[in-house]
Symmetry: C2
Subunit: 185 residues, 2 copies
DNA sequence: CGATTTGTTGAGCGATTACTCAAGAAAGAA
DNA sequence: TTCTTTCTTGAGTAATCGCTCAACAAATCG
């Protein structure tokens, strides 16, 4: 949807109803008939983004990769290529669309924050399973590792918005994987 | 200044002139007499932030620490404590105050982006010196390492705004330092 | 002191914000 | 066809945005 691109690029508050109606080729009345209001439209956009290949690659990797290391390595390497891809706005919509907002939109800020923290919990759960299965040594800390990878991914999204290329972000991904218990290039 | 807290917490567009005049206890006319306009006030705020202990800890560490490893270890560990400090808004003003804006404020977005990319260049320069001095092996890539640490720091700022504690961020910092050539906990 | 400068004030500017609604057009059912 | 339902439209709402200005007060100067 055209709304996705706008919210992705300019964020929630940076995108006006006028921008949206113009891009979608409709009048405000139609927009408010189809979606309740701006908040609801945004939340619908975020959900459809999460179900798309570009926004859902993290969940797909966690599901498809048999090992935790394989999953996180794939997530970081794919993020390095997807985030700076010029076919869409840079970075991740969930990470950057509402990082700082006016008090009246705190609800939207919290909505995305919750999504991010849910992803963090998913990371931790996957690493905990890996530890139970013996892939991760008992000395490893699933919670710490999850928070670390979440921070790296959020940082890579920001760097992509600042102009980092896929090559640069791939090097960042490889360095980040050195933190994996026992890993070394 | 009161304006710093507001911009830090809500971002550039999330802070209105009304918010600023109320917090500063002045009327709009006085604000526009003292600072030219909202953009100029914001830029002045960012500059004073960069000269403060909280906003300038990166430059101080790079200046004071004799080794590059010492400098980056200190930067990460201090960021882990400073970013979630409850005595001020979470995270880094430069990183989060204008990540997504309306087209009319693209100038402000670029202003902060340039600051971030300058910091990245400073990182790379410090690492290049370390390589010339033999602290870093010839196989290391100063540019990649700099981009990696920049991404981690930006990610830590975001995580702090999402509620991460100093303890959690410290663990992230320690994991991040594993990427240092030859390092291992 | 009076004169001049500097700073502050409240009122209000035009533009933009998210959003609404009565009226009309289009589509579907009988 | 006619009736009903669904969707779209242009005009408009009140509120807020960044910003300006003539009038006034405070401070500075000779």
């Amino acid at each position: 949807m055209a709304a996705t691109r706008l919210f992705w690029e300019r964020g929630y508050e940076g995108t006006s109803i006028g921008d949206l109606t113009e891009a979608m080729g409709i009048r405000p009345g139609s927009l408010y008939a189809a979606f309740k209001d701006k908040k609801s439209l945004f939340q619908e956009v975020v959900h459809s983004y999460g179900r798309s290949p570009v926004g859902g690659f993290v969940a797909v990797a966690l599901e498809e990769e048999p090992t935790a290391h394989g999953a996180f390595a794939r997530i970081l390497r794919e993020a390095a290529v997807i985030y700076p891809d010029p076919s869409h706005p840079a970075g991740c919509l969930t990470i950057s669309a509402a990082t700082n907002v006016a008090p009246q939109d705190a609800e939207i800020e919290a909505f995305l924050r919750n999504l991010r923290n849910e992803n963090l919990a998913t990371f931790e759960a996957r690493l905990r399973v890996a530890q139970q299965e013996g892939e991760l040594p008992p000395s490893a800390n699933p919670r710490s590792l999850a928070a670390y990878f979440a921070a790296v991914i959020q940082g890579m999204s920001q760097r992509a918005r600042d102009g980092a290329t896929a090559a640069e972000l791939t090097e960042t991904a490889e360095l980040a994987l050195d933190a994996w218990p026992g890993a070394r290039r």
